[in-house]
Assembly symmetry: C2
Homo-oligomer: 663 residues x 2
């Protein structure tokens, strides 16, 4: 150990080497991980953290901190090393040496919620970058709303070649360019290496020209030249566009013999290489041990922003908006968030119109949008179809950004990823619309949102063959099942306006999970026509019609097909078959109910039939092995909706027949 008192000041190079050594040692200990990227980007990260990034390691929740996003998430040891070195609570030596082990906070890829300072879960390539667009957009929007005094920070992203090859990166950079998100800075680890070898094996894109074409300012530097890095970051902060800094680096920089090789990407370097690398870096310390000078220098970096943070806190305390800002950033809803909605429910329960549930969703938004100012909506170019636009809403756009509706363009994945960013940033509750079939496009971001537990609300209209003529390319049949399969995603399929309003309320109240609302294109009758003070949809499934006498049959339905079930029940009752009907707006919420309630709803011992214009998968949970399912068994077709329902046999008659066959 060096004696701290007599030791010279740590150089930036030594500080960067601290990252390199932690990365290679962490991966070596785990015998698994990715040392090449952290070693390659250590210089860039050192300059960013020690000179530019606005943060205070002691207060990772400082609302006006810069956001640092490691889009190349496999290089997780880079962020763990940075958080450890700068003194984030939780980023202990023990955690670093338990990299990739059960129960540690240092997962193989950075996981949001495990360690303070990790702003977003990354690893699925391209998504960190796409999510950062939401962060940067939230910043501009909140700055417009609360003023630069409270909101004035940057979003710094480290992205690799993989991020830039993924298609979602194009959606992201086009959005950032269009919206002139000039406080978004991407540091591209331009190391010319992918897992299979040289980038040129699979890509010859001129990335710099590509970003320029998307409206970015671009600069290329040597990513191991500290002065060049500094100069480029200064330059970036002066631009009126988003900025790309192409950092030419060597993967595994500093590795004795493997520097520059794709072999450093995804595996431990091995004892011999590590020993040689230590020698080359003049690093004679044990794994996870820091010499005092370097430790001190990094700790100082961690405190660098404390003064600014305190000034900001003073400004916040003095601000008339303090309470509202704090509430919004915490994700709490305004007290009266649902007053108008509940009043509307009371008003509508007996008079609600027969309308498409997408219109019902629009009606819910009409009541919610004014009451919850953090709601920011949008659509992937299907505004009129998705009913996502609340009349009179200004568009969120440069240069003022105070609007609350985003034209996302034809970019479902980019939208969903940016929605995650908006939600993670805080102060904004995003919702965004597309056709349900295109949840396949946005699925990777919906999943990541579920894994992180963010409140992003996906408005998925045209939810079945009921969309009609557009045909099977546009008709979801497997999407309800596929969405219900995603853990921690609330999937709602409301049956009428009351249920749609209830589902919206639940989605907004659920701070730790994204929601997907499946909504119809076609008109459907009102089914919830009896007043209830309770949000019945919150139970996931509930008896909407009791049997006349001892139930012989139970019919389950969702969305537009619930009306078919109710009509079938009428027919059956008329023929003397006591039939109850259960509405199932959400499988997930039903699973959260206690066993007794579940049993009471499911009604074993009765003939059970479910109807949903989708595939059966998952419905066995309700109908058991002997129940019947009236729905789809394959892709849809192009024809008017009513014809399709008839041809595919999703009818009241089919439900009735299925019951009778089983009585």
């Amino acid at each position: 150990m060096t004696d701290a008192k007599t030791a010279p000041k740590a150089t930036p190079e030594q500080m960067a080497n601290a990252i390199r050594v932690l990365a290679m040692d962490g991966v070596e200990k785990a015998k698994s991980g990715h040392p090449g990227m952290p070693m390659g980007m250590a210089d860039v990260a050192t300059v960013l953290f020690s000179r530019f990034l606005k943060f205070d390691a002691s207060r990772p929740d400082w609302a006006d901190r810069d956001r640092f996003i490691l889009s190349a998430g496999h290089g997780s040891m880079l962020i763990y090393a940075l958080l450890h070195l700068t003194g984030y609570k939780g980023a202990t030596k023990e955690e670093l040496s338990n990299f990739r082990q059960w129960g540690s906070k240092t997962a193989g890829h950075p996981e949001y919620g495990h360690m303070p300072g990790v702003e977003v879960t990354t690893g699925p390539l391209g998504q960190g970058l796409a999510t950062s667009v939401g962060f940067a957009m939230a910043e501009r929007h909140l700055a417009a709303k609360y003023g630069d005094d409270l909101v004035d920070h940057r979003t710094w992203v480290i992205a690799g070649d993989g991020c830039l090859m993924e298609g979602v990166s194009q959606e992201a950079i086009a959005l950032a360019g269009r919206y002139k998100l000039n406080k978004l800075h991407v540091l591209w680890d331009d190391n010319e290496i992918t897992i299979d070898g040289k980038v040129s094996l699979s890509d010859t894109t001129d990335q710099k020209a590509r970003f320029k074409a998307a409206g970015w300012a671009v600069k290329a530097i040597d990513g191991h030249d500290m002065n060049a890095i500094k100069g480029a970051m200064k330059w970036a902060m002066r631009q009126d566009k988003p900025t790309l800094i192409a950092c030419k680096t060597k993967i595994g920089r500093g590795a004795a013999t493997m520097e520059g090789s794709h072999k450093t990407h995804g595996a431990a370097l091995g004892a011999a290489e590590i020993a040689a690398t230590r020698l080359g870096l003049a690093w004679d310390h044990d794994p996870f041990e820091m010499p005092q000078t370097i430790a001190d220098a990094w700790k100082k970096v961690g405190r660098r922003g404390a003064k600014d943070r305190k000034k900001w806190e003073a400004r916040l305390a003095a601000s008339a908006q303090a309470a509202d800002f704090t509430r919004a950033m915490k994700g709490d809803l305004p007290e009266a968030a649902f007053d108008a909605l509940n009043a509307k429910i009371t008003e509508l329960v007996e008079t609600q119109p027969a309308q498409a549930t997408r219109q019902s969703s629009g009606a819910a938004l009409d009541e919610l949008f004014a009451a919850i100012p953090e709601l920011v909506g949008g659509s992937a170019d299907l505004t009129g179809s998705n009913n996502t636009f609340v009349k009179g809403t200004p568009i969120l756009d440069a240069p003022t950004y105070e609007g609350r509706y985003v034209n996302w363009g034809i970019r479902e994945f980019g939208m969903a990823a940016a929605m995650n960013g908006l939600a993670l940033h805080g102060g904004v509750i995003p919702y965004g619309g597309t056709f349900m079939v295109f949840s396949d496009y946005s699925r990777p971001a919906i999943r990541l949102g579920a894994l992180m537990g963010v409140r992003a609300i996906h408005v998925l209209t045209h939810d079945s063959i009921g969309l009609g003529e557009d045909g099977p390319t546009h008709q979801p049949v497997e999407h309800l099942a596929a969405l219900r399969a995603i853990p921690n995603l609330l999937v709602f399929r409301p049956a009428d306006t009351i249920e749609a309003m209830e589902c919206w309320q639940i989605a907004l109240q659920t701070k730790t999970a994204p929601s997907a609302l499946a909504l119809s294109r076609q008109k459907t009758p009102a089914v919830r026509t009896v007043a209830s003070t309770e949000n019945l949809s919150a139970k996931g499934a509930y008896e909407i019609k009791a049997a006349n006498g001892d139930a012989k049959a139970t019919l389950f339905g969702t969305g537009t097909e619930l009306a078919l079930a109710l009509k079938a029940a009428e027919t059956l009752e008329a023929e003397g078959v006591a039939t109850r009907v259960v509405s199932v707006p959400s499988f997930e919420l039903f699973e959260q109910q206690d066993a007794a309630y579940q049993a009471s709803v499911i009604g074993r011992g009765t003939v059970r039939v479910a109807v949903e214009a989708a595939i059966k998968q998952g419905w066995e949970r309700f109908i058991g092995e002997d129940g019947a399912f009236v729905g789809m068994t394959g892709f849809g077709a192009s024809a008017p909706a009513e014809v399709l329902y008839e041809k595919f046999g999703i009818t009241t008659e089919a439900v009735v027949a299925a019951v009778k066959a089983r009585l």
Copy 2:
């Protein structure tokens, strides 16, 4: 009606107007559809078909025809009108006037297999373009293999702003640029309009610069200037790069008052506008009626390629490769396709090593690759992990293209879409690898492949928490269920090398459906150790171990968890519980078996327990309402695989306990 004999020759403008009128009339009749795009691109399409596209309407299956791909599939009336006018069989007046109706061949979006001349199903934006990369790559590869005499054609794509905004377009154009696919020509309908309004609302990308950055040659023209269009197409055919022709057009061109408006995009124009438009275009014919001069001119266009086609047929007949070329284009496998594989199965059944099923898959490919020369493999930059590379295979690359392995780069969606294109072109059977979790990225193309029924084989390795340390971002838990949900997709999860080889054989023999192989990262013991001359996996599920005596319990398992089931059965048998074990390599194939076989496998009346390191959804089919499922209930975690299995309770002990609790 004009008198054909005295009428002047039809002008190109009149020919284009024929498309316009058919489009607006077809949509009007259906009261649904998209007239704007066909009207806008009618001039471009007219020049393409009448002067450049190599085709013979009487022989839509001519192998060396140019491929025409309408990536902006909503403009389906454009292709239907073209096929009708040029005289494709099946593209009748009746079909056109039954646009978007049940049973018609004129679906809302062009559907592969409905009408000859529709090369690919389009509508989900960006995918037509991405699929075209596969078409163009297949052409280059087959030209290398069979010579320019037999294979020498182009791929022409019409793409809209939506196609270019979708991220997958970036993956596609980067691939085309990298691979110098100079016979790929994209005609961009640069009409500055999207559904929500002007393109500039959501996009300000300089598309021309973007394509150039990806290695394309680019030209911009007035898309209503016939001479300019002609010049640009000539220019395109001379380039040594893929080409973009940016065609500045007016959406709804020719519409009396709505030309240029986004209102022409997705709805019928209405009777008044149509009447006024007829007047403006001097078109005094009934809907779907063609004046003779124009009909004749178009029919002549349809016959334009007949001479070339006949010459080509003569060359084919004279070619020593005729039989092989014809077989490969038909999609038939070589006679001895599976000889080596079957010999290997016989050899390995008693001696197969314990290995990861991804290695088993690699071993299958080792036997198949030489025997089936149309196999073209690849990986989205995970070659070593996916075990997709057969040693010694040359890389498919410019300038010769004769290699059989594609470096797809980090582009799962682009890869899967291009695989569809390779398969649709014919002469090639594509497979491609990625991590199973990233099937979320490629999912839209997997779905479209299933809808079209193409033989594309998705090699999805790292199929569960068994991948270990990479953590929940990389661990599929819902993906088996989500893939099984897609109609007409065969999902396989083989348990050892024998099953892997069997599944590969089925996938290759299935000409009308894509397959997804779920393969493990981690080692798993051999389970199929008794010789069978039958491909048991082809039944989807089969008893792999009979009970000793009357079965009290049935255990179901797949992939790496089948070994747990077998071990649990051993324990149970030792304790006197007669237990059978069922391997379930494919849910879909099991559903195709007769009811008696299904019942015999499922074993109602026994205690039923299934084990799979994934979510339960779908397993109720096998275990009923009272059976147990040992698997996952949420996302995974980052830790070594064996720790995860233990912590998540996916163990032999758990299976045994579940049975005992139910006895």
